[in-house]
Symmetry: C2
Amino acid sequence: MVGTWHYVLAKHAKAMCSLERELGDKHGLGPSEFEVLDRIVHHDKKLRIQELCDEVHLSQSALSRVVARLEKAQLVSRGVCDQDRRGVFVCITEAGRARHKEALPTQRAVLADIFADAPVLVR
Amino acid sequence: MVGTWHYVLAKHAKAMCSLERELGDKHGLGPSEFEVLDRIVHHDKKLRIQELCDEVHLSQSALSRVVARLEKAQLVSRGVCDQDRRGVFVCITEAGRARHKEALPTQRAVLADIFADAPVLVR
DNA sequence: GTACACTACATGCATCCGCATCTAATGCAA
DNA sequence: TTGCATTAGATGCGGATGCATGTAGTGTAC
């Protein structure tokens, strides 16, 4: 219980730190930016902000800003949703897809390194 | 691998959020404050800042500020180390010990709730 | 149609964090 | 002793986050 918490805390800290450095230096992405990009690529369709909000571990306000940063970097584009004009859909650009593709191996390498000695999760 | 990372990410986000709310509302402590307090109580002796730094998942600067906040709240006291006058040792006060004692069950309850369905960690 | 409650997203604000840097103390070499 | 590299901890600063709130669009009751 407490042991599991310490494990989560330690791995999270290490991984976040490495991801921030590696993704930042090599691809100009923060962990949150990558996570959002990754979710969009995974779905491979126009996504409402709210759909993203359910999958990403960010508050709605933080997500709004991450998307704004991604848009400024031309990695995604935002558009008004026609069915519900309050809504905003996010669409990945070619540049965004390319950036994600080049960053993915970096992320995988970091995780492989950090979770190399990871215990297996068994129910 | 990636699955483990998602697990860590999800549990960390949930736990941090709950801890911040519960510890904050009921005991006026942030998660970092509690973690530092907990480490000090666990060692039960004067600790150098640097020793704490190795155990807590915070940068040296963040730790310095957490200790400053705890001192302002009278939960710990800081003193100059005699052997090495650059060093600072941190000592828990009676109020600090009491606060920790009353907050510990709250933390345990949050963790128990969040890790109730936790998979067992097996090598 | 009007009024009002509700929802989706954006934004002001305060807080916390990490990095870089600063200060003061230590220690070693010349 | 003097000079300089190193270390412990504090602090300035920029950036990211969450909460509360603002703004605009939706839907429902009347």
